[in-house]
């Protein structure tokens, strides 16, 4: 038994080491959902991390030290994410963790990072991740509450006061729905219809029919990600609903226009990041060079354009790299303090300035209200 066990352990360690070069000095951990229901978020995140670590190492590393990336696929399962986080901390002895594609996986990684006292930069949306502020936890994407606020600001400007909500019952949709319900009153907007659909549903016309029939309804919004919002958008066109239609940042990708169809997607508004409208950004836009470089590198290596979600990973690594350079060390406490002192860092999602009370460092200005016109993105502001 002992022999078998030793062999198993030996094999496990040998394989873990065989995968990565041993010369590296900065040990960076990551666990993202490369497979599973959140794969289309996690896959570009993993690709981005590999790409950028390669790029940093080719340029001589950080402070002369190369990065060794320990990257695991948690399949979107929070329990697995917890195990991999433990493995990163205890076995791989990493100095920081990036990851947690979904809010569920992020929440289960947080206790591990907090206990081990190493910085953890999450790639997930929910506001609970950074509020209340946790000493070692940061995140890069806008919170879903900010997405609600951005959309409601636009609605208020257009003079809509009665709206309908149709949200997915997956983590993304449910969490954003809750945040939207929380903040909607302060914009003088009333939710007159609140429908939902399952993440794998094939037809949402009953829900949309109900919303359409609500008296006085002026606009409809759809918090969700995956194929759901594309089907909702198609059904919207099928039913001939002419009310203004808002989607969330969860579908801020060109894939959405392809899946929903140019015709059905026409006029849809959503809050997106600079990454999505890279080609139409003004040359004076401070984010332009950063976003353009990322898009070019990503396309060169993978032959497809990166998505907003890959951008989250880009920013996480940029924040970490920037902090390591400023701290002049990879010692977790020093890096944590440096991350908290991040100031004016230009990322793909926005310009990041963190503080003791703000472990996200983005404001609403980083979100851009976009509108789909002729199968492409236009700035709506």
């Amino acid at each position: 038994m002992k022999l078998i066990h030793k062999f198993a352990l030996g094999a496990m360690t040998a394989m873990a080491f065989a995968a990565t070069p041993v010369l590296a000095e900065i040990r960076l951990g990551a666990t993202v959902s490369e497979t599973g229901p959140a794969a289309f978020l996690g896959d570009p995140e993993a690709k981005t991390l590999k790409l950028l670590v390669e790029k940093i190492n080719a340029a001589g590393g950080l402070n002369g030290e190369k990065i060794e990336l320990f990257l695991y696929d948690d399949g979107g399962d929070p329990n697995k994410a917890r195990t991999f986080a433990t493995r990163l901390v205890e076995d791989d002895e990493v100095q920081a963790i990036i990851g947690g594609t979904t809010t569920g996986t992020t929440m289960s990684i947080i206790p591990v990072a907090e206990e081990a006292k190493i910085p953890f930069i999450s790639l997930a949306g929910a506001i609970e991740i950074v509020k209340p502020v946790k000493e070692w936890v940061f995140k890069t994407p806008h919170t879903d509450r900010m997405a609600c606020e951005k959309i409601f600001t636009d609605m208020k400007k257009q003079g809509y006061t009665k709206i309908g909500l149709i949200s997915g019952t997956d983590g993304f949709g449910a969490s954003m729905r809750k945040q939207c319900l929380d903040v909607v009153a302060s914009y003088g907007i009333e939710i007159v219809g609140d429908e939902s659909y399952g993440p794998q549903d094939a037809d949402m016309t009953p829900q949309l029919t109900n919303l359409k029939g609500k008296p006085g309804i002026q606009a409809i919004m759809n918090p969700g990600f995956g194929q759901g919002p594309s089907i909702v958008t198609r059904n919207y066109a099928q039913l001939g609903i002419t009310l203004p239609f808002y989607q969330s940042h969860g579908v801020a990708s060109n894939g959405f226009i392809d899946l929903a169809g140019k015709k059905a997607a026409e006029g849809v508004r959503l809050p997106g990041t600079a990454l999505l409208v890279e080609s139409i950004l003004a040359d004076s836009d401070p984010q332009k060079p950063v976003v353009a470089a990322y898009v070019a590198d990503y396309k060169a290596k993978y032959n497809i354009a990166p998505t907003t979600f890959g951008g989250y990973a880009h920013d996480a690594l940029a924040i970490y790299a920037d902090a390591v350079k400023r701290a002049g060390s990879t010692e977790p406490k020093a890096v944590r303090d440096a991350i908290e002192a991040t100031k004016g860092l230009i990322g793909t999602t926005g310009i990041v300035t963190m503080s003791k009370d703000d472990h996200l460092g983005l404001d609403l200005s980083a979100f851009r209200m976009l509108e789909i016109r002729d199968g492409g993105w236009k700035l709506a502001e």
């Binding site: 352990l9 873990a16 696929d73 399962d77 329990n79 195990t83 929440m107 019952t169």
Partner: protein
Amino acid sequence: MRLSEKHWTLLILIVLVALTPFFFPSSYYFRVGSLIFINGIAVTGIVILTGYAGQISLGHAGFAGIGAYTCALAPVHLGIHPALAVVLGAAISGALAWLVGRPILRLKGYYLAVASLGLGILVSMLLTNEAWLTRGPDGIDVPDPGLRDLFRAMGLGFSATEAWYVFNGFMLIVGAWLALNLYDSPTGRALRALHGSEIAARTVGVDVAGAKLTALVISAVYASVSGSLLALQNKFITPDVSGYMHSIEIVTMAVLGGAGSVLGAIFGAGILTMLPQVLTVFAEYEQILLGLVMMLVMIFMREGLLPSVLRLVRGRGE
């Protein structure tokens, strides 16, 4: 002295739980070990249901979900200790199994599979959709039952992961012991009789419905406790614990290792829990390999891995 199979099983489990930690290079291995024990408890329940009684369930994760969320909710809303919540969860799971068991167990083969599948999906949906209570798909925090303090009071300075390794290992051994005792009891004999042939069992006077119901209730309690322990150890739980994939995982572990014996099923839990950890370097091929292993074992080792391997070893010895 010749040991019975029951004593062999317990002896092997105790030795494994107690001695392997001496070879653990880091506390991450305690975490993996602990997860094996948690899964081991759930599959022991499947041994009773599938191995002994020959019934198939594709919804046992539903009971794990009940156990897990009782531990998350009861201490907050009812003010009871998390340890007591484990018992409460087990009671709710057992009661639910008993309630739906009678009509479900009239169904045979695939019909039972789909009915249990539906039950599991209903629980999962409830946990996902009733966000006012369960906080929805993003999961909920679970209170700390104070296991480390308990060990500290006993003079044992374990880390949290080590403490859970020890405790879950203990729970698994207790669970295995109970299952093995059941095997030799009149109920166990009744279960095995109906596994062979329901009609024959009925003819010789076995209370078929009663025996099946007992097996379902007991296995639901095992699944529930396993879910509770997972929630308590992680201090956080999401509705994934009650999902269809988890139900499949539990059954696969048991059948792959050998659902006919407690040790075999736990062996299966060990293999399938470790597999994704070993395969991280081949993460891209993980699913392909897992699927292949499942098919190959079922084709070439029908009783499961452990019984087949043992037969091979014994055959060589004779």
